[in-house]
Amino acid sequence: MIESARTLRNRCAIVGAGNSRLGQVPGVSSLDLFMEAAAHALEDAGLRVRDIDGLITRGPDDAYCHHQQIGERLGLNARFSTSLDNGGASQILAVAVAVMAIEAGLATTVLCGYGRDAWSRTHTSAAARVKNQTRPDSQHDQEFGPEFGYFGAVAAHAFGARRHMHEFGTTREDFAEIAMAFREHAIRNPQAQSRKPLSPEDYFNARLIVSPFGLYDCSLRSDGAGAVIVTSTERARGLRPRPVLIRGFGSHNNLTGWFANDNMIRTAAFESGQAAYRMAGIAPSEVDTVQLYDCFTYMVLVQLEDYGFCGKGEGGAFVRSGALRLGGTLPANTSGGQLAEAHVEGMLQIVEGVRQLRGCYAPERQVSNAEIALVSGHGGNQVCHSTLILQAG
């Protein structure tokens, strides 16, 4: 197994990355936001639609056969195409499946992307704001949840945060540092949705949502899309942009459920990370920057532990050291992440990882000498996880 994993190391690369307008983009469908991002990714790569022969997407949760709708808009007959269904872990999985499809000879150049209209969808009316749902009613539990007033992803993740606080002494001060660090990064990102400085007072004075989470523990509701283009490293060398190599990837889903065992405090990021490190042939200490799936502050902290950047239970001390800040030992979510840039279900984390490794930012936003980036995706019913390890080409 280890041998077969190693054969995919650096075989493929990301040659284009793009995003749509982000934040509040009323009147534009998620499909059209996707198209904006796809057009930018193609332009970035110096490619045209006719150069693409693979398409892997994950639509809004109520779009049937999402990749078919996107392919129709692109005017594309694909040799390999599908939509994925692992929630926020789908976006990295799309890149992983693209590598596998290319290596299997089923495609040469694959467009991977995701778009959503979560801000518009949750702001259509006062009732929609209360429900705060990004998925239609029919997809929500009909029993063992709503009768107890259990709704939404905030509570699901807050369960994990609470248990982690109980077992390891993690505090809301630790969560605050994550929110403040990413906000500080967003201030340097002109396209970020939240660019106002965030002080400890702002964090602690903010209203509680589902405690232990307050307002600033929660990611944004965003309209937006991102897309990347994957091709063989050999082809990538002949293209205009500096390629970013796909050094390793991993996936792991705790399908037994978020409530089972210790899944909410020892997450699938552990096994997914181990698989990715194995393929990449690196240790956590070799990672220069991380772009983690930050749907909530706590998820950053627990992933730092599960990925081995610190020991289990030491996430609080690790983040309080300032490690996550630009200039720190492990700059994280340098665009502001989903807490402050925009929440596009992990897709923008991939885009940011690519841009950091190209070294394309001004010094104030650039991770110096960034050679290796780890990107994570998390989602489904909190149990799906995927990992991407990228290397400057």
């Binding site: 705060n132 107890f148 109980h166 589902v210 409530f259």
Partner: protein, 138 residues
């Protein structure tokens, strides 16, 4: 006090019907595997431990501990407006399975993980009983 908006009524599936029927009689019933002896939840046709189709519904102790809990301060559904802030907990039953429920009768500030709880049943004006839990002695 009557709620202007009724609380959601659980929609039982064919598999979960015996659970809800038991709750209406103030009994907490779980599926018990005749082959491997384990309990499981939520209800499903085959045992989640050994895939045996041979099971029966057994009344369980109703005792367990709070594995984790959250406190809703924000309203997601108008029926819960008068309950804010309210607690939703994951209760780990002595028999193994974990259930989502509410913790009644204790201020939210006093609730902690691992506290012992026992089942209680409440209607809450929804016209159907649901299992709830209250803090109890060891």
């Amino acid at each position: 006090m009557a709620h202007l908006v009724p609380k959601p009524v659980p929609r039982a599936s064919a598999e979960s019907r015996p659970f809800w029927d038991g709750v209406q009689e103030r009994k907490l019933l779980l599926q018990h595997c005749r082959s491997c002896g384990n309990y499981w939840f939520p209800p499903s046709a085959l045992c989640r431990h050994c895939l045996s189709p041979q099971s029966d519904w057994r009344e369980v102790s109703g005792r367990g501990r709070i594995y984790s809990f959250v406190v809703y301060h924000r309203l997601y559904h108008p029926a819960f407006e008068q309950d804010l802030p309210y607690v939703v907990a994951i209760v780990a039953l002595q028999e193994g399975p974990r259930l989502l429920s509410n913790i009644a009768g204790t201020p939210w500030q006093e609730i902690r993980c691992d506290l012992p709880v026992r089942v209680a049943f409440g209607d809450d004006g929804r016209g159907m009983m649901v299992p709830q839990f209250s803090i109890c002695d060891e």
